[in-house]
């Protein structure tokens, strides 16, 4: 048995107010420690708020920013996932999530897929990340970080799991929309997300941790509903929709081994085949592939 208590910080960040949000993070990291959590997860852009537009540059931090180092120090003894606007040395701005462990920034994931359609305009303000990589963790399992839209691309959870993640963590600022009464939980966005997370957990035989914010930025209302899904695809915990709070869920990381022995989907993956076919498709789209007639 490898028990882990996960604390989901389903917060409503103050838009553009880095100092207030940092203070809130410190509070909740301390609260998570008091609750004996081993992992505390904050939502996408929990340190800055979501609908930043031109404010993004004003609240950006370098990965080595002392304020992040302070958070890492505060989180010593547990693992924390926090999200912020990262400015790279060449001054690109990224939506980033960092894993803080042992007093340091262990890993930074830069959001790869930036939705720029419908109500979203992320690519106007941010650069896309170029790396999807799992990271070892003090929790004893590989951790895969992803940010919101990253999980609307099936390649993200698959790559993270194949790269060694057993705990997939998606941090989100998902705006609620579509109130049609026919929806499973009264909100189209929530129904879609719930389907995705269960599917990914089962197909990757991994834990999926989803932390979504609440509150309002401008026109957008964020619906919360953070969840923890087990490697069988079954929900272990669901936080209420729209309610701010620090919610805990207890998991047994040993479930991953049991499920992967029972259902060896990852063993049977064919990364070399997938890579080959992707490569062919990429070359084809660039007008470089020959038609083999196969």
């Amino acid at each position: 048995v490898q028990p882990l208590r996960i604390a989901l910080a389903q917060i409503a960040p103050r838009l553009g107010d880095l100092e207030a949000n940092l203070a809130r993070h410190h509070e909740l990291i301390a609260a998570a420690r008091d609750l004996d959590a081993g992992l505390v997860v904050f939502p996408e852009l929990g340190l800055t708020g979501y609908q930043l537009q031109d404010l993004a540059a004003d609240v950006a931090m370098r990965a080595e920013d002392p304020r992040l180092a302070d958070l890492a120090e505060a989180a010593r003894g547990l693992s924390a996932v926090v999200s912020f606007v990262e400015e790279s040395p060449d001054h690109r701005l990224f939506i980033a999530a960092a894993l803080l462990e042992d007093g340091e920034v262990r890993h930074v994931h830069r959001k790869v897929f930036l939705p720029t359609y419908g109500l979203f305009d992320e690519r106007r303000f941010f650069a896309p990340g170029d790396v999807v990589r799992a990271t070892p963790s003090r929790l004893g399992v590989g951790v895969g970080l992803a940010i919101c839209e990253d999980f609307w691309h099936v390649s993200t959870p698959q790559l993270l799991a194949m790269d060694g993640a057993q705990l997939l963590i998606n941090v989100s600022s998902s705006p609620g929309r579509d109130l049609a009464s026919t929806n499973e939980v009264g909100l189209g966005t929530a129904a879609s997300w719930r389907t995705l997370m269960r599917t990914y957990a089962q197909l990757t035989t991994s834990f999926v941790v989803f932390c979504n914010r609440v509150g309002v930025d401008e026109s957008l209302s964020f619906w919360g509903g953070s969840e923890v899904i087990g490697p069988t695809g079954a929900a272990i915990f669901g936080a209420p929709m729209f309610e701010e709070g620090l919610y805990t869920a207890d998991i047994d990381l040993g479930d991953v081994r049991r499920e992967r022995i029972t259902l060896p989907l990852l063993r049977d993956e064919r990364p070399e085949l997938v890579g080959r076919e992707w490569d062919r498709i990429v070359r084809g789209r660039a007008g470089l592939a020959e038609d083999t007639g196969q």
Partner: protein, 307 residues
């Protein structure tokens, strides 16, 4: 009642309060949660604790009053009733019933003197000039809406509240609204709800039945109703707008679905013709950074709240 609509009934014996097309039905519980948080968020970000709105006796402003009361408490809401001398006394009664049911503050500000002072009355010319006595209903209606706007924004100062918008999605899309008049507000909680959805949500919140049942009207002259003036019913118009706008159906798709081509094309023209009412006026792009073009900030950020 159309064959694909559901009837919402108060009790088995009664006439349905309204017709709600299936595809427009919303989860009212979720809507209330989202809207309440939206209202609180808008006020908090602006540094206000109170709200003010114009209460006409119609369903839209009644619903917003209920939503604001639910979000921040009735004691923080001021409803201003602003009748003109020809306004229906029944509307006034309905507005008072809403105020009584909610227990919120209210004020009565007659706009008759303001409007008649401009257009004139009883054959005596007003400040609006020699042709003002013969002003069209459109001019008079727009002017009344703007006098109400001016009144609301003034009353908002001593009340120390934000003006809450009460326009719905149907009227916004077809342009059945006065620019800088009834559409003027600090924020609008129901601007993305069609009239049919306004009715559904009103029923869920317990808005008085008489308000839900009566025919929507701009009340610019006795007996006026939206539906006789426009020539279509709200359930039909709402369905048309939903499929055309939200679901991106082409005109041909719409005709295949059973909509009348002439009506679809007419509504298309109304939507296009009202685009200017839904947007902030364009500023000529001249400098390095221009508001709304390449100077893009949230309406509220640290330092922008009233202190």
């Amino acid at each position: 009642v159309s064959t694909d609509g559901v009837e919402v009934e108060v009790d088995a014996a009664a006439e349905p309060m309204f017709e709600l097309p299936d595809e427009l039905a919303i989860d009212t519980g979720v809507a209330r949660r989202v809207i309440a948080e939206f209202i609180r968020g808008q006020l908090r970000q602006a540094g206000f604790e109170r709200a003010v709105l114009g209460l006409s006796g119609g369903i839209d402003s009644a619903l917003v009053a209920y939503l604001v009361a639910e979000a921040i408490g009735a004691e923080r809401l001021l409803c201003v009733m602003m009748p003109y001398r020809t306004s229906s006394p029944a509307s006034q009664g309905d507005a008072e019933a809403v105020v009584a049911a909610l227990g919120c503050a209210s004020e009565l500000v007659e706009i008759t003197a303001m409007v008649d002072g401009y257009f004139g009355a009883d054959g005596v010319q007003g400040e609006g000039g020699s042709d003002s006595l013969e002003a069209t209903a459109l001019r008079r209606g727009n002017f009344m809406a703007r006098m109400r706007m001016a009144t609301l924004y003034d009353r908002s100062v001593p009340w120390r509240g934000l003006v809450v918008g009460t326009g719905n999605k149907t009227e916004s899309l077809i342009g059945y609204t006065t620019l800088f008049g009834d559409s003027a507000c600090a924020f609008n909680p129901i601007g993305d709800l069609y009239k049919s959805q306004v009715r559904q949500l009103s029923a869920a919140l317990g808005v008085p039945e008489a308000v839900i049942r009566k025919a929507p009207s701009a009340d610019l002259w006795p007996g006026q109703t939206d539906e006789t003036e426009a020539g279509f019913t709200y359930p039909v118009l709402d369905r048309l707008l939903f499929w055309r706008v939200d679901r991106r159906r082409s005109v041909d798709d719409m005709v295949e679905m059973g909509f009348d081509r002439t009506l679809v094309e007419r509504v298309d023209r109304m939507i296009a013709g009202a685009e200017f009412k839904r947007q902030v006026p364009p500023i000529a792009k001249l400098g390095p950074r221009t508001a709304g073009v390449d100077y893009l900030y949230p309406r509220r950020r640290p330092g922008s709240a009233r202190t």
